[in-house]
Symmetry: C2
Subunit: 258 residues, 2 copies
């Protein structure tokens, strides 16, 4: 089972869009995919059509139980209207975990322990993160085999990436396995100079960790969230979806190498 | 002196772009404008060409002094390369204020007290906020005469606005004057159905507090941050700048009425 976390401390860079796009493509390949929404804003949960205020069996409830068992974890997994695609939903209550759990011993490994119980039920787990460094992001990073960092190709976003890479280096110190990360340039607009020069700077600064292509700006992604379906399920000839297919091929080829 | 705060707990919605666009237009009208960057990510500070790691006299330093005097406040005000436009810069250290100040009595009014000292030196103060509800946002809201809330015209952003409006209602309870807010629809894309239906929903939900027009999607805003100048200073015939001019006229006409 591969666990991919999509994270960046900067908001609005395309984290949720990256998770739902890759998950849809993996499910269409026949892979069994579990989505995890760790963002109290619950964008992924509402994107998939769940009512955030009334959804049962959320990730928050799993964190309340000190004694985990298989039945509890299975209870939190909700089926979506798409084959091969399940979700453990988020709720607003997740925002309180930082205060409650922050100092407790071993709180960084709860998610890793949850996922170990379903190791054989899924091929991929994709985790969507909130745009802040807190308990949920730490849990997600500790549980993942690879971190995808979407970065807008613009000048202001590059400073934010420095912060995220520093966070990964700090996490690395307390994780036994290597924490591999891939920078994914998003919202690339070939018409503006800003996109081009930002991309060049990213490629020069992170030569070994950046994907060799880009996700272009594509307004069809907006419509996708209204239809409550992954973009590849209903948008034909969409350059954004083609780009995510290329990204997925790159990641699957990389991961199989190891 | 009018104090306008631009805030939304959702990231990447155009807060910094709104601050710099309106500030540029006001300075070109000959108004004396002070910008305040309260975001530890310091986007506004780096947008204006300051080096975030070495800038002197930041807002953080002002918060360190329990005894404020006029000299200290003036020392923190930096001139920019544009007439009528000054800045009190941000730094990463602002992120530590939540832990340090969080529980202290009266910590919500520090910014209001700072601004009272420069009441006669500026016509407008524009405050850029980080995308989180913390000490800095509370300070900014308590010090402002009007709050501008940029909201992307898309489905996922509407839930985020509900949260922001609830925050304003809570703040209202501890502020003597009325806290007026204006919802500003941004990144409107007339080609996608998602933008249209989101805008309709916003207009139905916030009829008395929404601006009657939109800021369109305009990729020239990306280039503007590379030139380290407000968009209206160098971009000709830009529909984004025209839209901010219309917004400014709407706000100035409103504010004068009161
Ligand atoms: N390649 C793209 N081109 C155009 N729009 C995009 C693209 N990717 C994402 N978007 C749009 O940008 C907005 C933000 O995307 P998204 O919600 O995925 O970001 P996020 O990083 O998850 O945000 P948050 O930090 O709030 O969780 C959405 O309206 C989405 O439709
Ligand atoms: N109307 C618009 N059309 C197209 N792009 C825009 C528009 N407004 C802002 N942008 C771009 O969107 C990105 C995010 O904008 P901005 O930094 O102003 O948002 P923010 O809300 O301040 O983000 P943060 O929450 O990280 O502080 C920037 O690349 C900016 O250039
Ligand atoms: Mg998201
Ligand atoms: Mg900003």
């Amino acid at each position: 089972m591969k666990v991919w976390t999509v994270a960046n401390q900067k908001g609005g860079v395309g984290k949720t869009t990256t998770v739902i796009s890759l998950a849809g493509l993996l499910a269409q390949q026949g892979k069994r995919v579990l989505l995890l929404d760790t963002d109290p804003h619950a964008s992924l949960t509402s994107y998939l059509g769940f009512d955030v205020d009334s959804v049962q069996g959320t990730l928050y409830e799993l964190y309340q139980n000190t004694q985990l068992d298989d039945a509890m974890v299975t209870h939190s997994i909700q089926a979506t209207s798409f084959d091969n695609l399940d979700l453990i939903p988020a709720s607003m209550a997740l925002a309180t975990l930082d205060k409650v759990l922050g100092q407790r011993e071993g709180m960084g490994l709860i998610l890793k322990r949850i996922l170990a119980r379903i190791e054989h039920q899924y091929d991929y787990v994709l985790i969507d993160c909130p745009p802040v460094l807190g308990v949920m992001m730490v849990n997600a990073l500790a549980a993942s085999s690879r971190v995808l960092v979407p970065v807008q190709t613009e000048f202001l976003a590059i400073k934010g990436l420095e912060r995220m890479v520093k966070t990964l280096a700090i996490m690395q110190r307390s994780c036994p396995e290597p924490l591999r990360y891939t920078v994914v340039p998003t919202m690339y607009d070939k018409r503006t100079r800003a996109s081009l020069s930002a991309l060049k700077e990213l490629q020069e600064t992170y030569p070994k960790n950046i994907w060799n292509s880009v996700i272009p700006i594509d307004t069809k992604f907006r419509d996708a969230s209204l239809r409550h379906a992954p973009p590849s399920y209903h948008i034909k000839n969409c350059r954004g979806v083609f780009a995510y297919q290329t990204l997925l091929a790159h990641l699957q080829q990389m991961t199989d190498e190891q």
